[in-house]
């Protein structure tokens, strides 16, 4: 058994323990959250022993899972009867994500993707009210379409090549069936990344889910899909890469314009921002052999900053930024700066890394689009700043939003972003090696 398998086994075991043992002993949110934490930590330890680039995938996924677990205690008041389920699904979803990220053939990819996607749908549904139920329904329906694309593509690849292994460039050149198949497979996995034109469900789901869980769904699915697509593109070469480059560029443009209009709705803006960032990952994936590594690096950077933002927002679905207290306001501000790609934050390093490979492999036009999308994002990420400054001065309200119970999650997420700001080389080492 390789360390990767151990990581998956421990997470699945943890999910079972949470559901069958812990949920009978206590439904106290903090108990459940802390009971799930060791499984994520041990799994991350195994991740460190896996070879690059998978090491970064597992460590980042387990980190995302741990932060999301720590945010469970502030889910909506309606959720606590399901806290054990929520925690178990976080572990299970992480296991599925690792399965997808490490997939070495198409069948493994399908199993991992579905484990992740189904967990994600239920996590979205666990937000309070009809809004999240509706979004979860859309997410599962549209997920089914992408699954159909994936499975159909898998069938075509098998038909044309006689194997479920990732098709090589030679196989693709030899058979149009394999080409069509691998494009369909790529689009199926692109649903997890939330690339245009498969972003619809994700956009609504990211908007409506409870903050902590939304962060997990966005980050984990991007990480897993980036690594899985990275392997597929490495095998398939430019035939799939070209598709990803242009889909990525369209996604960057779409997400940027979408986000600019969201002046009043921070959650919606963050959902569009997830689309834009997916575009950068798509562009990186298409940019040659070095691109796959860069895409993984980008996804990890995105995960750290998205989790930080949602740790800052955790609590009721809609939170008045002016009441969140100064420490959370600072954390949220750091997260937004990073999402905006302001140096020296992980978001900026990741963007630079993508530009380097995009210029070398994708050409000048995609690079220019990425530059434009990157720099103008500052305009919408900085819009909540006045409210955050108000929060810095105001006394934190006594409402749910500023309970100290949040502290561990916020601190862990802040730590991740700060470390990646000052030492981006660590993540780069985990994904690429020295």
């Amino acid at each position: 058994m390789t360390p990767t398998y151990w990581a998956v086994v421990i997470l699945v075991f943890g999910a079972v323990v949470l559901l069958l043992v812990v949920s009978l002993l206590s439904t106290h949110p903090r108990v459940v959250a802390y009971a799930g934490l060791p499984f994520a930590v041990i799994s991350a330890g195994f991740g460190l022993q896996t070879p690059q680039p998978l090491a970064l995938a597992i460590v980042a996924l387990c980190g995302v899972c741990a932060i999301a677990l720590l945010l469970i205690p502030v889910l909506e008041p309606a959720v606590p009867q399901h806290v054990a389920e929520a925690a178990a699904l976080l572990l299970l979803g992480t296991a599925g994500a690792i399965g997808l990220a490490q997939a070495t053939d198409l069948l493994q990819a399908v199993v991992g993707l579905e484990t992740l996607a189904l967990s994600a749908v239920i996590l979205v549904a666990l937000g309070a009210g009809d809004r999240s139920l509706e979004a979860a329904f859309k997410y599962i329906v549209l997920g089914a379409i992408s699954l159909a694309s994936l499975l159909y593509g898998l069938g075509l690849v098998y038909l044309g090549g006689g194997s479920l292994a990732f098709p090589t460039a030679a196989q693709i050149a030899a058979s149009p069936l394999v080409l069509a198949g691998i494009v369909l497979v790529g689009l199926g996995i692109a649903f997890e990344l939330a690339l245009v034109p498969l972003h619809w469900g994700a956009l609504d789901a990211y908007t409506a889910a409870a903050p902590g869980l939304a962060g997990f769904v966005m980050s984990a699915s991007k990480l897993a899909a980036a690594f899985a697509l990275g392997r597929i593109v490495l095998a398939a070469g430019a035939s799939l890469g070209q598709v990803l480059i242009w889909i990525g560029c369209i996604t960057i443009v779409w997400g940027t314009f979408g986000a600019i209009a969201q002046a009043r709705d921070l959650r919606r803006m963050l959902a569009y921002s997830a689309i834009t960032h997916a575009g950068f990952i798509g562009l990186a994936l298409g940019s040659g052999p070095a691109g796959a590594v860069t895409a993984g690096f980008y996804a990890a950077a995105y995960a750290s900053m998205a989790m930080l933002v949602f740790a800052g927002l955790a609590g009721p679905w809609s939170v008045d930024l002016r009441t969140i207290g100064r420490w959370r306001a600072l954390a949220l501000g750091l997260g937004l700066f990073s999402l905006a790609g302001i140096p020296p934050t992980p978001g900026f390093w990741a963007k630079l890394a993508v530009l380097v490979v995009a210029w070398q492999a994708a050409g000048w036009l995609p690079t220019l689009i990425a530059v434009a999308g990157g720099v103008f994002s500052v305009l919408y990420y900085l819009r909540p700043l006045p409210d955050l400054f108000a929060a810095l001065r105001a006394e934190p309200s006594v409402a749910v939003d500023s309970r100290p119970v949040l502290l561990p999650g916020v601190v862990l997420a802040t730590l991740a972003v700060v470390v990646m700001s000052i030492f981006p080389g660590i993540a780069w080492y985990l994904v690429r090696g020295a």
Binding site: F137, K138, V141, L142, I145, S146, P176, L179, A180, V183, L184, L187, V196, P197, L198, W200, G201, L203, D204, S239, Q242, V243, W254, F257, G258, A259, I260, A261, Q262, Y272, F297, I342, P343, F348, W349, K351, L352, A353, L355, V356, A358, W359, W364, T367, L368, V371, G374, V375, F376, V378, L379, L382, L385, P386, F389, P424, G425, W428, Y429, R432
Partner: protein, 573 residues
């Protein structure tokens, strides 16, 4: 001192932390903890400049994904000179702000932003390669945004800040691109002109073009001028420090620093000169029609930056740098003098409101007069005379003498716009003297902080011709122009400036002269507004497509998949 200077960007960070944490307490003493940073920076930079030499800090492998991913900081006479300017103007502005912001509830936040700006500007100047430069470059842009939008409750300030952010984003993008596309191993600013580094796409011209775009955005040149006049929405000390003396000069600094690359790119150099001249003339004309006091001075900054660009463009970066040096002093003086009047008039900035009020503030009146004389280039007794003449001379003696003659002719406009502002505010009879409120406690630090700038505006020219050539090696700033103490073009420039000054002053002081009541707000106008409105419209359309109807989503997904398949498998097979 050079090794210490290489870390000068951290000097204001202790002040930032202390002030941010509320030490010392109380409104009156807010910001006291920050006061030490700039003078220390000034002293260290001065000693380092006098001692000479250079020192670089390098940490390899910091950003392993970049062509040059090392952390490189470089302290040499050029960065030392820029840090002297930064330290000196910042020291003055900090003291001034104690008075100007005395009663402002956001005083503490103001000093935190100031410290952040000085740190970012220090990093920008000390950057040894493109990666580090980017951090400082973006950092000053962000602190500029925060300070423009400082009074966020006033209408238009947030919009003005976002405009500055958007214009700077263009420059940041160009610099990002430059840092990403240079061949592996390149990125150190002093090496950009080597054959190894210009071997990439487009060669030296393309790389130089990217740096020029970045510089033009930061220094408000050419079509990217629009954000600077609106940046006057921020507090006046900010207009003096960031939007006159230091940050907007960063573009000139970048071009001087990389002048070796520019010599390999004659096309781009020509464009730099052309844009510089066009901006100098256009902004001077625009200044003549401003209804807002500070905007009038801001257009003057745009115009003077145009002179500096022209100096760099004709291949004499030293002349541009010299003008940057003297301009920092007299333009900061003009702004701070204006701020005294604006503060006394309760924060109003419209020329119609301020008409004649300047006569009640003696320090401000003398300060503005000295600043004006330096601006129009009065020879021998003011600093501006030497540096402006250096640029004009260099341009006339270059391969494109037309640049020099145009710059010379534009001095009459310079005299005109500054004469107009001086006449209206400081010479005209006051319409409503009762609107003036003297607050001695706040005015004292403001008045006294004008004095060093007055001295600087008078003597820095002599410093520049007697001392700077000996401390700035030719290897760093290019050929050192020999600046004559007085020659025919210098005298001609002064005569033109004086004619403009007196002519326009007479014109606006005529008894029957009506003052145009124009727009005094900071709303964007013209094509900037059109782009913004268009952008929002497109953005709105994009978000409308996301209708919430799952059937449409499904349809969109299927069509999308089909289109991708068709394009990839059928069309590009």
């Amino acid at each position: 001192m050079m090794p210490l200077l290489a870390w000068a960007w951290v000097f204001t960070l202790p002040g930032l932390l202390l002030t941010g944490l509320g030490v010392p307490t109380g409104q009156r003493r807010a910001g006291y903890a920050s006061l030490l940073g700039p003078p220390v920076l000034l002293v260290v930079a001065l000693i380092a400049l006098a001692q000479g030499g250079s020192y670089s800090v390098t940490f390899d492998g910091w950003l392993p994904f970049l062509p040059d991913g090392a952390y490189r900081a470089l302290a040499d006479p050029l960065s030392a000179l820029l840090l002297v300017i930064l330290g000196a103007v910042a020291t003055v502005v900090y003291v001034y702000s104690l008075g100007y912001m005395a009663d402002d509830p956001g005083k503490r936040r103001f000093f935190v932003y100031l410290d952040l700006f000085v740190a970012a500007m220090g990093l920008l100047v000390l950057a040894g390669n493109l990666a580090v430069l980017l951090i400082g470059w973006t950092g000053v842009g962000i602190s500029s945004f925060l300070l423009i939008s400082f009074w966020r409750d006033r209408p238009g300030t947030l919009g003005a800040g976002l405009q500055a952010l958007a214009a700077n984003a263009v420059g940041d993008g160009a610099l990002l691109l430059a840092a990403s596309i240079v061949p592996t191993g390149c990125g150190a600013l002093v090496n950009l002109g080597t054959s190894q580094c210009t071997a990439g796409f487009g060669g030296a011209e393309f790389l130089a073009l990217l740096l020029f775009v970045a510089a033009a955005a930061k220094s408000a040149q050419g079509p990217l001028y629009f954000w600077l006049p609106n940046a006057m929405a921020g507090p006046t000390p900010i207009s003096a420090l960031i939007h006159a003396a230091t940050m907007v000069a960063a573009g000139v600094y970048l071009l001087v620093r990389t002048h070796a690359l520019l010599t390999l790119a004659p096309q781009v150099s020509l464009w730099i000169a052309a844009i510089g001249v066009a901006t100098a003339i256009g902004a001077s004309v625009a200044s003549l029609f401003q209804a807002n006091f500070k905007k009038g001075i801001a257009y003057s900054t745009v115009a003077q930056l145009g002179y500096m660009f022209a100096g760099v463009g004709v291949g004499v970066p030293f002349a541009g740098l010299f003008h940057l040096f003297t301009h920092a002093s007299f333009k900061a003086l003009l702004f701070l003098a204006a701020g005294v009047v604006i503060h006394g008039a309760g924060g109003r900035e419209g020329l119609a409101d301020l008409r004649g009020l300047g006569r009640f503030f003696a320090f401000s009146r003398w300060g503005f007069l000295i600043g004006s004389l330096a601006l129009i280039g009065t020879p021998l007794i003011t600093a501006g005379g030497f540096s402006k003449d250096a640029i004009v001379d260099a341009a006339i003696n270059s391969s494109t003498p037309i640049v020099g003659w145009l710059l010379l002719a534009a001095v009459i406009l310079t005299g005109g716009y500054i004469g107009r502002l001086f006449a209206i505010v400081y010479m005209a009879p006051a319409v409503d003297p009762h609107t003036v409120h003297h607050d001695p406690g706040a005015e004292r630090p403001m008045n006294w902080s004008l004095v060093p700038l007055m001295v600087g505006s008078l003597v820095l020219g002599w410093v520049g011709i007697l001392w700077l050539p000996s401390v700035l090696p030719e290897a760093i700033v290019g050929p050192v122009a020999t600046v004559p103490i007085l020659n025919i073009t210098g005298a001609l420039a002064f005569v033109l400036g004086a004619i403009g000054f007196l002519g326009v002053a007479w014109y606006v002081l005529r008894p029957q002269a009506a003052l145009a009541r124009g727009e005094t707000s900071y709303r964007p106008d013209g094509w900037v507004r059109a782009i913004a409105v268009g952008g929002y419209a497109v953005s709105d359309a994009f978000s409308r497509v996301q209708s919430g109807l799952v059937a449409r989503y499904a349809f969109g997904s299927l069509i999308g998949v089909a289109v991708v398949l068709l394009v990839r498998v059928v069309a590009f097979r």
